[in-house]
Symmetry: C2
Subunit: 221 residues, 2 copies
DNA sequence: CTCTAAACGAGAACACTGTTCTTGACAGCC
DNA sequence: GGCTGTCAAGAACAGTGTTCTCGTTTAGAG
């Protein structure tokens, strides 16, 4: 039953956006009264939250699947596959992506306890791969050193706190490089999904692939 | 009168987001009946569009002001100032930024004839500065060459079309570099304003400055 | 000065939304 | 049988965008 509600809500999200998902339409869709819906859903925000968590989970699952399908001995290849899956899922699920990473709705505050853990999954997965690559000595020391030179005390402390909080087995400059790469890929993805890239670059696929190879270079791989 | 409507709507946008701006509240705010509002506004979407155009214009104005205030003989400095202003305005006006660059609402289609011209202004301004820097021989030829090596036929044609469409006096690799930089800065800004950066890097200011210097290097300046 | 037409504002109404409350039907269990 | 809990339905309230109709005001032409 909860599943039917979620399925209907998901369909509305995909066809009409976040503001298009309405409890009455969900009730109409699955053939019950609106009031009956409140047996299974606390609130409209509660339903949106469920969709949000689902979006984060699907997204992270897609990244995980790509990593699992990659050659485990080819760490740069696995990282590439992860970042590529990160973008591909987003392009294929614009509504869910917009819900998860779009402008925050002032009225609605996402419950941190249910979202943060799952929102951080793709980043952590890539960070884990990068840590293994670093441990294997695959990361160019010159690149690390150059990044270290650009670090100031403030950001350095921030990255150290991040590494400790998420248990990333990486030196601060490597964390910085990984964050750089992630910001780049996520930024590209946001622009593409939200339509700000199309007027700038025409075949997004090819441009992303070139961005990906450059990102790997930037990572020292 | 139209100004009073827009001012009230802007206040609602800033305090409650796009979905928080309601015609009835605007009417209540300026002390007229809802129906009287339709004398000045075609539609709710029409009002949102007005806010959208205003946001784009303000944003571009902020970038222009920063460029105009910069030393005209220091082109890299002017580009830095432009990109810095791009981010600063966005952070200071999250609601307007979210409206302009957030997830597109399926029901609402922005009228292209009134938005595209103004949405492209900051990019064009930076591109103009970069073209002058390139004409002055300030762009490292090695950087251009390396970027050219990473270009394939598809994206190359896309960048050429962009340069022709917007009359950018730049070779294709330079256009590619500029787009790279823009994607990076915009991507960072989106992540910061939408709250996805805070869990990753703590002093956003310092991180952005380091991103900026690195971006200038990437541009060959 | 008068008359007319346009502009302006107000109110009611319709369809839609989220949410709550009350009522009723059914099942399982003592 | 009676009681308790779960489910569903309906009505109601407050809020929304939008349209229609009705008065009032104002400006300009004759």
């Amino acid at each position: 039953m909860t599943e039917a509600i979620l399925r209907s809500a998901r369909a509305q999200l995909e066809s009409a956006g976040v503001e298009g998902v309405t409890l009455r339409e969900v009730a109409r869709d699955i053939g019950i009264a609106v009031s009956a819906l409140y047996r299974y859903v606390d609130n409209r925000d509660d339903l949106i939250t469920a969709l949000l968590v689902e979006a984060f989970t699907d997204h992270a699952d897609a990244v995980d699947a790509a990593v699992d399908a990659a050659d485990p001995d080819d760490l740069p290849g696995a990282i590439t596959a992860a970042l590529r899956a990160y973008r591909t899922w987003s392009v294929q699920h614009p509504a869910q992506f917009g819900l998860a990473f779009g402008a925050p709705v002032p009225g609605y505050r996402a419950p941190a306890d249910r979202t943060i853990a799952v929102a951080v999954r793709p980043g952590s997965r890539v960070m884990g791969l990068y840590a293994r690559a670093h441990a294997a000595g695959l990361v160019d020391p010159d690149v690390l050193e150059r990044r270290a030179a650009r670090l100031d005390d403030g950001t350095s402390a921030g990255f150290e706190a991040l590494a400790q909080r998420q248990s990333y087995a990486l030196p601060v400059p490597a964390v910085a490089l990984a964050v750089d790469a992630f910001v780049r890929v996520h930024g590209f993805t946001v622009m593409e999904v939200f339509g700000q890239l199309r007027p700038l670059v025409s075949p997004a696929d090819a441009y992303f692939e070139s961005l990906l190879t450059d990102t790997l270079t930037t990572l020292g791989l």
